[in-house]
């Protein structure tokens, strides 16, 4: 599925979006008004230039279009793996990008992300998971690491991991695991302008607290985190 197909399906009323160096930026018309559209395509491995292009576009939007909702399209295979990138502190540019998404929220910009193909670790952390809400298409790949690589690193038999992954969302790759654990709101069976509009309607009135732990408990995918957070908050002060 090409980016243009994605954009046409999500924004039939029109879109003006640039793609440069796998970074998407622009705007689109929806039944809820104009939205900023940004993100990455072609399984981008996020590097400094991409992170700064995204963060710069977010800052422009905050300055020039106060309150305009942000729609992130996520297709990232993670972070760029190179010495020159690490030399310049890649984690710093990703943190800067995350700070910009967070600032937009504080300044009244509702945001949502849609994983269109891949969402992997560092790339996903820096913007997709920073949005008010995240969604994924049905065939999207959401993961930290596939089970074969995980078996190699953890020295646990691949068959055992496959067996456990069938029942536990804790490490099983896939968007469904992230829904059960509260990090993805829902899986969209197909691209749909109607779904996007109703998602936008929900995020604009959403309470901005991070409630992913509560959702993880409600959906029975993350049974411990919510209670641990509560216990820390409720523990008697020294």
């Amino acid at each position: 599925m090409s980016l243009n197909d994605i954009l046409d399906s999500l924004f039939p009323a029109g879109h003006a979006v640039n793609v440069e160096n796998k970074v998407i930026s622009g705007e689109a018309t929806t039944a809820k008004g104009t939205v900023a559209v940004l993100g990455t395509t072609d399984a981008a491995a996020i590097d400094h230039a991409m992170a700064l292009a995204l963060s710069g576009f977010i800052l422009d939007t905050i300055e020039q279009h106060p309150g305009r909702p942000l729609v992130f399209l996520v297709d990232t295979s993670g972070q760029a793996l190179s010495r020159s990138q690490e030399l310049l502190c890649l984690n710093g540019s990703l943190a800067h990008l995350a700070s910009c998404v967070d600032l937009a929220r504080r300044q009244g910009h509702a945001s949502l992300s849609l994983v269109t193909a891949n969402a992997v670790s560092g790339g996903f952390l820096s913007f997709g998971l920073m949005a008010d809400r995240a969604y994924a298409l049905a065939d999207a790949q959401v993961r930290v690491m596939d089970l074969r690589a995980m078996a190699r690193v953890t020295k646990i038999a691949h068959e055992r991991l496959v067996e456990l992954a069938a029942t536990s969302p804790i490490f099983a790759p896939g968007a469904e695991s992230y829904v059960r654990m509260g990090a993805i709101e829902a899986i969209w069976p197909a691209l749909s302008a109607e779904r996007l509009v109703s998602a936008l309607e929900e995020v604009v009135i959403l309470d901005k607290q991070d409630i992913r732990q509560q959702l993880g408990l409600l959906r029975q995918g993350r049974l411990l985190a919510n209670d641990v957070v509560r216990a820390v908050l409720d523990a008697a002060a020294g």
Binding site: L59, E86, L90, S121, P173, V228, V229, V232
Partner: protein
């Protein structure tokens, strides 16, 4: 007593609990969810691995020079300090509590490779929650100071978290990056990054390099007392800024300039020369005080 003769207590070698004992005012440590009241991670048990009662992180109240602070200390010796479900939730809880109770600071003793792969999804989501909780604590006016000098450094998602903090205090032994050199070598080849070349690894990810480039606010000796002095000194002159476009614009410009100037470099030596260091090859040999003096003399 002459300070140089005093026994130094290495931060790098110490456990998380020993670091806290030396960092906070004596007797002020009060742990939240202490080991005796906690259960190890059931996810590790399912994979047939022994857990730790504190799941590899100690969260506590305490005091620093009589000011109330919160502290979070990751144990690098347990599963590389990696973030699992309980581990992450303890950190998130403490940061949220800080946003409510407003201590003078949160000291975040990071010693972690990032996500605990055995609990990969839970770890990744927890790190995302930690990222938001750090920014919420800071927006509430509470400085969050990252202290990095342990054997696992601050890598993966915890490298991002470190850079979301108000400031990073690092030792020469500390390392800060996103992907570990081993991961880059495995994927991109030994020519790209030879993870066994320790000197190179330090020139790319080490404390001196990060301090010279301005990614870390302070460089301190590998000594628990030095981290304590550094944190005290930093907080004495720091007021947490409110989140603002102007602040992030300035950050954006600095990062863009840096990328334009240094994008083709592959070794700290090249960056240091470009920063104006006359003898870049001498940097790895300089002691902490000489390096700080060198940095302070650089053109800005």
């Amino acid at each position: 007593m002459i300070p140089s003769l005093a026994a130094r207590h290495s931060w790098f070698e110490a456990t998380a609990r020993a670091r806290l004992a030396g960092l906070l005012d004596a007797g002020s440590f009060t742990e939240i969810l202490p080991p005796a009241d906690s259960q190890p991670s059931p996810h590790l048990a399912l994979l047939d691995l022994p857990g730790a009662f504190d799941d590899g992180v100690v969260v506590c109240h305490g005091q620093l020079e009589k000011k109330p602070i919160f502290a979070i200390a990751q144990e690098g010796q347990f599963m590389g300090g990696a973030v699992g479900e309980i581990h992450g939730a303890k950190i998130v809880g403490m940061l949220r509590r800080a946003a409510q109770e407003k201590p003078a600071a949160v000291l975040f003793l990071i010693d972690s490779g990032g996500v605990r792969l055995h609990e990969a999804n839970a770890g990744l989501i927890a790190i995302s929650e930690i990222m938001r909780a750090v920014l919420d604590a800071r927006a509430a006016g509470v400085p969050v100071i990252a202290l990095v000098g342990g054997s696992c450094g601050a890598f993966g998602g915890m490298g991002i978290v470190a850079k979301l903090c108000s400031a990073i205090i690092i030792s020469e032994e500390g390392r800060l990056a996103l992907s570990g050199p081993e991961v880059i070598e495995t994927v991109a080849g030994v020519e790209e990054f030879d993870s066994k070349d320790r000197a190179l690894v330090w020139r790319v990810t080490g404390g001196k390099h990060r301090y010279l480039m301005g990614d870390c606010a302070m460089l301190v000796e590998d000594d628990i007392a030095a981290f304590r002095r550094g944190a005290t000194e930093f907080l004495a002159s720091w007021t947490e800024p409110a989140p603002s476009v102007a602040h992030l614009r300035a950050g954006q410009q600095a990062l863009e300039h840096r990328l334009a100037a240094y994008a083709s470099y592959r070794d700290g030596l090249q960056v240091w020369a470009a920063l104006g260091v006359a003898e870049p090859e001498s940097v790895p040999l300089l002691d902490r005080d000489s390096l700080v003096a060198l940095k302070e003399g650089l053109p800005t």
